[in-house]
Amino acid sequence: MSLTDPNLTESYLAMTRRKRLYGGLILVVFVALMASGFKVADARNAGGFFDGLHRIFDFPAEIFSEAFAKWQNLPSRFIDAVPALIETLNVAAVSTVVGGIGAMGLAVLSTRGLAPWPRLIPVFRRLMDVMRALPEIVTALVLIYLLGGGPVAGMAAITLHCFGALGKLFSEVAENADLKPVEGLQSVGANWFQRIWLGVLPQVAPNWSSYALLRFEINIRASAILGFVGAGGIGYDLKTALQWGQGRYDAVVAIFALLFLTIVAVDTISDKARSRLVRGGKLKEGRL
């Protein structure tokens, strides 16, 4: 009887209409925001979108034609860029490892049930939020002022960001850890460190390593970008080659290609490793 209740049908239809109205309104607002945002960005840009559109391939064409003309130089240019690439990879690797170790500590300190000082959980959380929100380039530029240019500034900057970014993800994983092993260890008199090391770490290790690998991919990109502002590595080489301009475009192409191949290779390998680490459970994708 209630199924044929006219009021029910009516209210259902009214709800649908309202839902459609809201959806339509959101769509209109969204389109308006996109359009006006595009206009503003276009107006504030040095060159307009439609003027530049047909020139988008000019620069790639220019560098590739020069590199093509000097194709016999390319192998040596590749070899020239390898030490800088290794530096970039080292920056990424060290900051992932150090950042990961720090993030482990921060994650445990800010997870309910595991933290040794539960009152300080909000403090550590805020601390991680700030470290995560701080763009690497800021830290890097300040450190370049203090330490002089070079990979160390970039490394410290990425590490700091890693503490916050990985710490948050690690703590989300740790929150879902089963506390029974911890209680069991406590009952046999294990101290706090032993409880974490033997009770929690084995549970979270696959997810944590998976996130750390994802972070490594991101850190390679970040380390290349920081090189561009003076923190060494392949980004710095790219900048000097670009500033030189015509005549060094073969080096630019070599750096582009090397960076591209490295990123694709690391992405592919870490993708495979991650899906082996967290079989079944799907990992939240994305930049962190």
Partner: protein, 446 residues
């Protein structure tokens, strides 16, 4: 017999177990050892010892002092005899000659400066400065011809906070400094806070306390007859020509705009492409594979390279930055969305299809409701993370707050502005984070 069988299995199992434990023990030791060797290599490769040795602690001191304090300087040109009181020594922060701050007393050619801790400096006619320093005594610094002379209280040796040479005498007491050279006599007094952050000296609201400002805003007489006080305050704050709040605000908005345009544009482009790249929707398998490669390419060519290429075509500015974000994220979103599409439940689509719906309708009512939460939460997630990336890309392409930030850092003296921008960026990113988290919890997962 069965007993001995069990014995054997127990024995072999024990052996296996022991071996696996030994293996684990070795692995547990090997991992830290490898890491240690690697760190030692990096330490040498990056010359970390050398970097630390070359670090500039005085830069750090300047940075920290600038971060929490500002200085007002009273400078006397020894040649012309002119005395000027200026905040941070900037023209825009110069006090009018007849209205110095209340800790500077001027009478004719004499200027007396009160300093913290009961100290004082007096500029006397004839380029002589008399410093009264409690617990030390009077110090006289004078210009004698081309030489700067120093006279200490009787029986005192030169302390380490005074440095003296033939051309320069300087006294550094932490919260104030004094120096005399041939050309100039200067006293710097440090105050906590950021100078003229709200109102500059030409604003009638400068130097008022919070309670005075509140009462002026709420019931005080109009300072500017043309508008209410609160509006005048907003105008003076907004047009503050020392901190340029309006410019900073627009730069920050530009950065957020770059992130918004880039993320949403990438989502709009990636969604239809993801249908073509998903195994269960693609019309042509070759097309699917080709699109997958395109996504990989877009992601692999890093944001840095896109930025470089695009800024050649479009010039510096926010549009270039948002296009760089758009290109990279189209690759990421294309991959993620097509994976989400491959994981949907086919029954829902079948059900819609059984009512006679066509392809578009099946997609709209059978597929989109299933993947919408995934898509929306990813978009929001990236919007937040791209706000930070937009700062970095802005620094490279010259747009938004990233540009202001790099400019302020390059001058190497406006650290208070750097900290202002950094705090603003951190707050904005944190706000985006909590807003997107709130939307995700409220509308998508709840």
């Amino acid at each position: 017999m069965s007993l001995s069988m069990t014995d054997i299995t127990v024995a072999t199992r024990h052996e296996d177990l022991a071996r696996s434990f030994a293996r684990r023990k070795w692995r547990a030791l090997a991992v830290p050892a490898i890491l240690l060797v690697y760190f030692a290599y990096v330490f040498a490769a990056f010359d970390i010892g050398g970097v630390i040795a070359q670090a500039k602690p005085d830069h750090a001191k300047v940075l920290l002092r600038d971060f929490w304090s500002y200085k007002t300087q009273v400078s006397h040109e020894n040649r012309t005899g002119q005395t000027v009181v200026a905040i941070e020594g900037e023209r825009r922060g110069t006090y009018p000659a007849d209205a110095p701050p209340d800790w500077v007393h001027r009478k004719g050619e004499t200027t007396a400066i009160d300093l913290p801790g009961g100290a004082s400096v007096t500029y006397l006619p004839g380029t002589v400065a008399r410093l009264e320093i409690p617990q030390f005594g009077p110090v006289t610094v004078a210009l004698d011809g081309r030489k700067v002379t120093l006279e200490l209280p009787q029986g005192k040796n030169l302390p380490d906070w005074i440095s003296a040479s033939r051309t320069r005498v300087s006294v550094d007491q932490g919260d104030w400094r004094f120096s005399m050279t041939r050309n100039r006599t200067e006293t710097f007094r440090y105050f906590p806070g950021w100078e003229l952050f709200f109102f500059t000296l030409d604003s009638p609201f400068h130097g008022k306390s919070v309670s005075q400002l509140v009462s002026l805003a709420l019931w005080g007489p109009r300072v500017d007859p043309a508008m209410p006080n609160i509006q005048a305050m907003a105008r003076d704050f907004w047009n503050n020509n020392m901190w340029h709040h309006s410019n900073v605000f627009w730069a920050m908005a530009e950065t957020v705009l770059m992130a918004f345009l880039g993320t949403m544009g990438a989502g709009l482009i990636a969604l239809p492409l993801a249908f073509l790249a998903a195994v269960n929707f693609t019309p042509l398998n070759a097309l699917r594979l080709a699109l997958r490669r395109v996504f990989d390419f877009l992601r692999g060519v890093d944001g840095l390279i896109w930025t470089v290429i695009l800024s050649r075509a479009f010039g510096p500015g926010p549009l270039t930055g948002s296009l760089a974000i758009l290109l990279t994220d189209t690759g990421t979103f294309g991959k993620m969305f097509s994976e989400a599409l491959e994981n949907i439940d086919g029954k829902q689509v079948e059900g819609i299809g059984s009512t006679g719906a066509n392809g578009i309708q099946r997609a709209r009512f059978g597929v989109i409701p299933q993947i919408a939460p995934v898509i929306l939460s990813q978009l929001l997630y990236y919007l937040e993370s791209n706000t930070r990336s937009a700062t970095v890309i802005g620094a490279l392409v010259g747009g938004g707050i990233g540009l202001l930030l790099t400019q302020a850092i390059i001058t190497q003296k406006d650290w208070e502005e750097v900290s202002y921008y950094v705090i603003l960026i951190v707050l904005t990113v944190m706000a985006m984070d909590s807003i997107s988290g709130w939307i995700r919890r409220r509308f998508i997962k709840g």
